[in-house]
């Protein structure tokens, strides 16, 4: 390619030959990569929906448990598992969300740039890389081996806390970082103390993002299976008590029925349970978006 000289005739022709070919190849490549990345998602969704939709649409699915239902029998529902999954996730969130948000506030607002902050940040990175089975075994060792407690839904929630905490902390941290320093200074300039600035200015500004982080964390822990397998027995009946040693949950419901042959009705229930889990996670995401939207003021 030549550099145009001032007095040369200007030409605005399309680039020819090789460059058109390269451009075409690159377009094909990025399109193909996108399709390849998204295809499995649609495939999974399609399979789960087509195989699970029939049971999901019956009201019994949402109202009954699997008590007394064998894999060879039709009937029953996932109510017991939904109760268990939601209850354990909520207990987990009740512990992990305050801890995560407080931790993020410490790291960003109070200890920024200090050795403590760097050390804690490093630990959180390690924590977020812990496999769920390791978290489950840690809680097993702590609760059951050391303290001699029994298996329970609460133990599961505690193991889930270890998995949810880094997600909430990290995302809250990122959101707090995005809050402009000028807003904090504007608040200080009004004679507002630091803690009140954080509670009334910084957190509300970052609220939408923090909620999204919490929902992502919840979505992650709801699908975790290892803590359920290790720390609680799968119950086919309805149980609300978080201290009892058996409780239903969607991942363990899927696990319990996964080796059914396709001709058994229990086989279809596995797909329906998977669909239910996806639905709940999707519902949480929609909820997060709604919360974020309704807490944002209209500009005009």
């Amino acid at each position: 390619m030549s550099v145009a000289t001032p007095d040369a005739q200007l030409t605005f022709r399309r680039p020819g030959g090789l460059r058109t070919v390269k451009n075409g190849l690159a377009t094909v490549y990025v399109t193909l990569a996108t399709v390849l990345a998204v295809a499995p998602l649609f495939w999974v969704l399609f399979t789960v929906i087509t195989k699970g939709i029939r049971l999901i649409l019956s009201s019994n699915w949402w109202l009954q448990s699997q008590r007394g239902i064998t894999p060879r029998r039709e009937g029953g529902g996932a109510y017991h598992a939904i109760v268990g999954t939601v209850e354990m996730a909520l207990i987990c969130a009740a512990i992990a969300v305050p801890l995560g948000i407080m931790g993020a506030i410490l790291l960003i607002e109070y200890a920024k740039g200090t050795k403590v902050a760097r050390a804690v940040s490093f630990m959180v990175d390690i924590l977020s890389g812990i496999p769920s089975i390791v978290a489950a075994l840690f809680i097993y060792a702590l609760f059951i081996t050391i303290f001699g407690l029994g298996r329970s839904a609460i133990a599961v929630s505690c193991a889930l806390v270890l998995l949810m905490l880094p997600v909430v902390l990290r995302s809250t941290e990122e959101m707090l970082k995005l809050v402009p320093q000028e807003l904090r200074e504007a608040s200080y300039a009004l004679g507002v103390p630091k803690w009140k600035t954080i509670v009334k200015v910084v957190i509300p500004t970052a609220f939408g993002g923090i909620v999204t982080g919490v929902m992502l964390g919840l979505a992650r822990v709801m699908g975790e299976t290892a803590p359920l397998l290790i720390l609680v027995s799968y119950a086919v009946g309805i149980n609300f008590s978080p201290t009892s040693d058996t409780m239903g949950a969607l991942p363990t419901m899927i696990n319990a029925g996964r080796d059914q042959p396709p001709q058994f009705p229990g086989y279809e229930r596995v797909w329906a349970a998977a669909f239910t889990l996806i639905l709940i996670v999707m519902l949480l995401n929609v909820l997060a978006r709604l919360i974020a939207r309704f807490t944002t003021l209209k500009e005009k």
């Binding site: 920024k112 740039g113 402009p180 320093q181 000028e182 807003l183 904090r184 200074e185 504007a186 608040s187 200080y188 300039a189 009004l190 004679g191 507002v192 103390p193 009140k196 600035t197 009334k200 200015v201 509300p204 500004t205 609220f207 807490t295 944002t296 003021l297 209209k298 500009e299 005009k300």
Partner: protein, 258 residues
Amino acid sequence: MARRIDVKNLDVYYGAFHAVEDVTMTVEPRTVTAFIGPSGCGKSTLIRTLNRMHEVIPGAHVTGSVQLDGTELYGQSVDPVAVRRVVGMVFQRPNPFPSMSIFDNVASGLRLNGVKNKKILDDAVERSLVAANLWNEVKDRLGKAGIGLSGGQQQRLCIARAIAVEPQVLLMDEPCSALDPISTLAIEDLIGQLKERYTVVIVTHNMQQAARVSDQTAFFNLAAQGKPGKLIEIGPTDKIFSNPDEQATEDYITGRFG
């Protein structure tokens, strides 16, 4: 009530870096004082020491004294939060709170300091918005977000927010640098009105602005990059712009600088 500011032998540091060297000046109540000078000469740093806002940056500290009507701002037992209730500040870029409506933005200073009475808040919001020349433009949409306003309106909103808490000194750090000429004019008119009630200190890069709005002008300069900024000359604005004592001041305001 406006207050007098006395700065004596003030040195400002960021960690080991010496940012401003040995400043002594007096700002009379109900006057506008303009800080001018090239970038990096420490005028923003100095204005931020007048309400202890520089302390937000870790490692920042001062030696010397700043007094407000004789009361030391850097005494052992002084709470910076209490200082900032008396010395308000408007920043370079408009920074309304994005999570709050226009009303809540103006009311925020009072609310966050514990005022709950609806009548007091309503009155303060109207009075401040009127004083900031913004009331007529926003009175029908007080519940809408403050960040939905134009840049000039946002800056006047920030001024309304700053004066709603009735400070006795108002610091303005380049309040018009992000605004168009029409908004700038509106803010300059406003500064003229504000000085009837407050002591105003303004940092500006616009020398016509300093000449237009201020009673007193302080010129800052630095010997070289990395050297501390110094107060070269302070005096009545007329004198600084027509017949300054220092050659450096004259060079700067006539554009022969550097």
